[in-house]
Amino acid sequence: MRAFAAALWLAVLLLPVGVGLAAGAADSVDVYGELANPALQSRYEHITHDLRCLVCQNESIADSNVELASDLRRQVREMLVAGKSDDAIFKFMTDRYGDFVRFNPPLKPKTWLIWGAPFIMVAVGAIVIVRIARRRARLPLDDEPTSEIQ
């Protein structure tokens, strides 16, 4: 019982340390803090969420803690402060890392398949459904199974 009470006390004492560590970890994603200009900060967030961290590949550079992501965030921040447009920043990144660096790749001949795939799949599905529906429409309505559908 005494051991339990001691453990409880220890846990209570260490709680602020744990919370502090967690907060520190969250902060380290953005070591430079927010940009002073709120308009720039909102563009910064939009851009960094649309750029892929190439080390982890399914995380954006806004979410990733690896060093490359932090270097790329610094790059985005500096270009924003220097007055560069969003397009210029995205171009800077795709010129170096290719379209894969963007979660939202531009529409161009090389990416038609990516953008078109959902529509192609819906179209294929629609054709299949129409064909099945038409075939069923031609079936006799009576409940007796015919030799045709057995």
Partner: protein, 179 residues
């Protein structure tokens, strides 16, 4: 007729997809570099071995060279190092190093202890040169021709086989075409 053709077409499409997607030699993390065929980015850095010296790729204009990105934190670079030493022994092209996300004294120690295959090694203090080259890991190796164009990029450790089949023919072709 259609009843036969459609499944066969679907099957062939799957064969092509699997041949590509399940190929064990394909590195799913290796991205094609948009720099291929373009002018190589600038590299002008302090030399790891001698901070008073500069490594500048403008000075390499006119010759084919290989740029190898590495770091002492990179386990696969340690694996690759033996091969780089062997490549350096062949004296085919200058090997230039780019020490990435590293500490200079550690890098210096690495080269002193394991041997230095590089003609010079640029020390990328803040990762900016690496960003310009589209580097996202190590090891990565670029081949640049005499006109300063990026000919080829290889991601993951170079092996003797890769050097012989991917690099040497491209180096020979670049020299033949006068580039």
């Amino acid at each position: 007729m259609l009843k036969f053709v459609i499944p066969v077409m679907a099957f062939l499409a799957l064969v092509v997809l699997f041949a590509f997607g399940l190929n064990p030699h394909r590195d799913i993390h290796a991205l094609p570099s948009p720099l291929i065929g373009k002018q190589a980015p600038k590299l002008d850095l302090m030399d790891v071995m001698d901070p008073s010296r500069h490594v500048d790729n403008a000075a390499l204009k006119g010759q084919v060279y290989v740029l190898n990105v590495w770091g002492t934190w990179c386990v696969e670079c340690r694996v690759e190092h033996e091969e780089l030493l062997a490549i350096a022994q062949q004296h085919v092209v200058p090997l230039i190093g780019l020490d990435y996300m590293d500490q200079r004294d550690k890098a210096k120690q690495w080269l002193t202890q394991l041997g230095n295959p590089y003609e010079s090694v640029g020390f990328d203090t803040d990762g900016r040169t690496a960003i310009d080259w589209g580097v996202y890991g190590a090891p990565e190796t670029f081949l640049v021709d005499g006109q300063g164009r990026v000919l080829y990029k290889f991601i993951s450790p170079i092996t003797a086989e890769v050097w012989e089949h991917e690099f040497l023919p491209r180096i020979a072709a670049a020299r033949r075409s006068g580039a």
